[in-house]
């Protein structure tokens, strides 16, 4: 431990503190701390947050001193969790894969080198992505925990709440700093557990309990995919580590990534009849494409869809708003739901493999993202529950992030991560604002029941406005820079020469439409809440006033963040040490600036090798330049920026026109035949829930009742019958135990004689 570097020490301390705080709260909370249960958690989070920022600073310095290789990473091995020697039989498993799917893998490499151990260590890593996520998670968690002190002060289950929050922060920090897929999966599940516990925090409420169950079950679908993906990765690569180890190059390790620098995932020159991209790759050092590569990506994406509430697994997130509002802000807006984005970004090299002749996985990611963004945007238009509007908005914004990841370019992925970063600020701000409103309104969150709160709650009003503007993407607030970067990246691909250009063009249009809708529904909610005649529901009682400073101070800090983070980090001229620089130093992203990387929009892809190389070099130079010198917001995309800005302003204006005043126009508009149907669909949330009910839940219930009957009558009957056998045998022998001394002696003698007889028979 003493020979650890500062980075390693920080890396261990950041998750450890919330864990310790959680244990303290869990042990002392119910008896001693009671109403003061927040103290250990807040204290732990303060230190954790400071340490995260220090870690970021240290990392920055390390990156600057580090020039060679692909990106920068540091890992720290805590202990070995599981170790099975000779577990991976490379040749055997590859043969099986080849057999089962016929044509995926054909070559056989050196068999002597094909076995490897199954070695899972508790290893943490520090790189750009991790450190940014750590800083964001701990900072937002700290602010929200402070806010929750005010929000939860009357709740009897206060200690339980803070215990869960501490556990969540521990899990989330471990999730983003895990350096192998198993650890990632463990904490992936752990944050899911915390989410379940916190959604169902008020478990006496039927809806809350049901929502918790729903979230958990829908997530299971995604986790199932994720788990399968892990199995595939293990089978194909023989390791689950991100980083290189002595035994094997990690899945995302530098040694394997270096294969991307050279000839990565190229179709074979003599390609006929061979899977492309796989045949000349040694899996010990390279990446596998083709069907198996696609399967890995799609299954990973399924996991990400579950966790990040993307179409078609988004249905749990709106219901999750039954949880306490700080939870909605922390888990279901800022941190946990972005785990999917983080995971896909982390696995960028896996998504970049050549899956020809099948789909390109990145197109799938982008399509899911774009669709989710649009659908959620449309649904958010008509919801009356303030928190649900924000929930759909979260889905929509997460959709943007996936769209950005799907572009497959460094700029796009960094834009996605940047949006994740800014979104954490303004969305948690909006949620906390909504919570503040809800707190004041005595738990009422239906926007039709209150209105005109701007005078009653000025702090909430102004901070909410800042968040709403940031979400709408108004210059120079945070949302503008990140969203614009995404749009620009998508626009680039759409206007490139990739096979999927037209798809991306349509996705770009959808994203523009979503940007307009975002502004519209955000300000619809804003106007309905804060403008119009002052209206306070009866439930509010004497609560109806501005929240206490302990709640408004985090709001103000987050509002400042929403105002400034985009400006600070997203400006042209940001250097290598800025957001883009730090993020781009992540090994799995840094590889993209190298010439071998197969970008979606590379026009040169199908050209000859020489041409390809030079084009790639050019591209890499261009990307390097664009990232390092111009920052995220590229001048060449001024057009995109202007369009999105205009759309946002238009959205705000139309929202003002429709919802300021008595909303007469709205009623008129929805009488239009087209709008009427649209409204019905939007209000019905695209009927996902009923459709799932019919397609999934009902058959499930039917199957369950059949199984129940089967189990109850047949299996139970069988088991009970079998269970009676031993005691039945016992009854048979019972009469031997009759209590008579002589009988016992006789049995013993008979036993001896039997044995003697068998001995005689045996020996003679």
């Amino acid at each position: 431990m003493s020979d650890w570097t500062t980075i390693q020490k920080l890396l261990v301390a950041i998750p450890a503190l919330p864990l310790v705080a959680t244990m303290v709260t869990a042990l002392l909370g119910p008896r001693y701390l009671r109403g003061k249960s927040h103290l250990p958690i807040v204290f732990g989070l303060v230190i954790s947050c400071v340490l995260s920022l220090e870690l970021l600073r240290q990392l920055n310095r390390a990156i600057e001193n580090h020039e060679t290789g692909i990106g920068y990473e540091t890992t720290v091995d805590l202990w070995t969790w599981a170790s099975v020697p000779e577990a991976y039989d490379g040749s055997g498993s590859r043969k099986t894969i080849g057999d089962s799917t016929g044509r995926l893998i054909t070559d056989v490499h050196d068999a002597s080198d094909s076995s490897g151990p199954f070695h899972i260590a508790v290893t943490l890593r520090a790189d750009g992505l991790t450190c940014i996520m750590l800083a964001m998670v701990t900072l937002v968690a700290l602010l929200i925990a402070i806010y929750a002190v005010g929000y939860m002060h009357q709740d009897r289950g206060c200690w339980r709440f803070f215990t869960y929050i501490g556990l969540f922060v521990f899990s989330m920090t471990m999730l983003v700093s895990a350096s192998n897929f198993v650890l990632l999966y463990v904490f992936w599940e752990a944050v899911g557990l915390c989410s379940y516990l916190l959604i169902g925090f008020w478990y006496e409420k039927r809806e809350a309990a049901a929502a918790g169950t729903k979230a958990f079950l829908v997530n299971r679908v995604g986790d199932f995919g994720f788990a399968l993906a892990l199995f595939f990765i293990w089978t194909v690569y023989g390791t689950l580590n991100f980083h290189d180890t002595q035994n094997a190059p990690g899945v995302l390790g530098q040694e394997r990534l270096s294969s991307m620098q050279q000839e990565f995932g190229r179709p074979g020159e003599s390609g006929e009849g061979h899977p492309r991209g796989a045949q000349d790759q040694d899996v010990r050092t390279g990446y596998v494409g083709g069907g198996i590569g696609l399967a890995i990506c799609l299954l990973l994406m399924l996991g990400a869809c579950g966790k990040s509430a993307q179409f078609p697994l988004h249905v749990w997130l709106p219901d999750a708003m039954e949880g306490p509002t700080p939870v909605s802000a922390l888990i279901h807006a800022a941190t946990m739901v972005t785990a999917g984005v983080y995971m896909v970004a982390r696995c960028t090299p896996l998504f970049a493999v050549d899956c020809a002749p099948y789909l390109d996985p990145r197109a799938v990611v982008a399509t899911i993202g774009g669709l989710s963004a649009l659908i959620a945007g449309i649904i958010a238009m008509t919801q009356n529950d303030l928190k649900r509007v924000l929930a759909y908005s979260t889905i929509s914004q997460l959709g943007y992030m996936f769209l950005a990841l799907g572009t497959g370019s460094l700029v796009g992925i960094i834009a996605g991560m940047f949006h994740l970063f800014t979104h954490a600020f303004f969305k948690s701000l909006l949620f906390l604002g909504a919570g503040s409103v809800m707190h004041a309104m005595g738990g009422v969150i239906d926007m039709r029941k209150f209105g005109g709160l701007r005078r009653l709650m000025p702090m909430t009003f102004w901070t909410f406005l800042a968040g709403a503007l940031a979400l709408s993407g108004i210059w120079p607030l945070a949302g503008f820079f990140s969203k614009d970067a995404i749009l620009a990246a998508a626009y680039d691909v759409g206007h490139g020469e990739a096979a999927y250009a037209s798809l991306f063009l349509w996705l770009t249009y959808a994203a523009f439409l979503t940007a307009f809708l975002t502004a519209l529904y955000t300000f619809r909610a804003f106007y309905m809440t804060f403008f119009g005649a002052e209206e306070i529901p009866a439930e509010a009682g004497h609560h109806a006033r501005e929240s206490r400073p302990i709640m408004t101070v985090p709001l103000v800090i987050l509002a400042l963040g929403a105002l400034a983070v985009g400006w600070i980090f997203g400006q042209p001229g940001a250097t290598k040490s800025g957001f883009a620089g730090v993020a781009a130093s992540t090994p799995s992203l840094a590889v993209m600036v190298h010439p071998g990387y197969r970008a979606l929009d590379t026009a040169a892809e199908r050209k000859s090798a020489a041409e390809r190389k030079s084009a790639a070099e050019k591209k890499s130079a261009a990307e390097k330049g664009s990232v390092a010198e111009k920052g995220l917001h590229q001048d060449s995309h001024r057009r995109v920026a202007i369009i999105s800005l205009v759309l946002a302003v238009l959205g705000i204006g139309i929202a003002g026109f429709l919802y300021l005043g008595d909303a007469r126009e709205v009623r008129a508009i929805i009488q239009w035949p087209v709008m009427k149907q649209l409204h019905r669909i939007s209000y019905g949330k695209f009927f996902f829930d009923p459709v799932y009910w019919i397609l999934v839940v009902l058959p499930g219930l039917a199957l369950a009742s059949i199984c129940y009957a089967f189990d109850r009558w047949l299996i139970d009957g069988l088991v009970n019958t079998i269970g009676r056998i031993p005691s039945g045998i016992g009854r048979l022998f019972r009469n031997m135990q009759c209590g008579m001394l002589q009988t016992y002696a006789l049995w013993m003698l008979l036993g001896v004689l039997t044995l003697l007889g068998s001995a005689v028979w045996h020996m003679w």
Binding site: N735, Q737, G739, M740, L741, Q742, A745
Partner: protein, 149 residues
């Protein structure tokens, strides 16, 4: 030589086995606690005969040593058996081993003795006891007829 010795040994072994089996069968067949114990002692005597025979045959002292210890242990067991039997008799008024069958599996019926017709009291014949404290008289008549060999 070996043949003859073996034949001799076989005789001893047969006697030992018979005594042992008599003991075993007696232990199983008899219900009187004292007789049962005597039968158990008989088993040990059978073992002792066998051991002594083997000891002689092998020209080894070990078997005879074991016999000595068997006798000692049998004495211990006899002491315990006597104490036990006395107490059982005091408790039950019987020396019947079948009396002690309360501990058995539930739902297993107890054994009941077949009814033996009671002896009639007048037919019961007690042994004649010698009068105590009186010197027996000399039967002159018999003395006169007794042959002096």
């Amino acid at each position: 030589m070996a043949e003859a010795e073996l034949d001799l040994l076989q005789n001893y072994l047969t006697v030992g086995a018979i005594v042992f089996m008599l003991g075993v069968v007696g232990l199983i067949a008899r219900r009187n606690l004292i007789v049962m114990f005597l039968c158990a002692e008989m088993m040990l005597q059978g073992v002792s005969i066998t051991l002594v025979a083997f000891s002689r045959f092998h020209n080894d002292w070990g078997g005879q040593m074991l016999v000595v210890f068997i006798i000692a242990v049998a004495a211990c067991e006899a002491a315990i058996a006597l104490a036990l039997i006395l107490m059982l008799y005091a408790r039950a008024g019987k020396l019947d081993a079948a009396y002690w069958q309360e501990m058995r599996e539930e739902n297993v019926p107890p054994y009941i003795d077949r009814e033996v017709p009671l002896e009639r009291l007048e037919e019961r014949r007690w042994p004649d006891l010698a009068p105590a404290g009186v010197a027996p008289e000399i039967n002159e008549e018999e003395q006169s007829h007794r042959s002096h060999v």
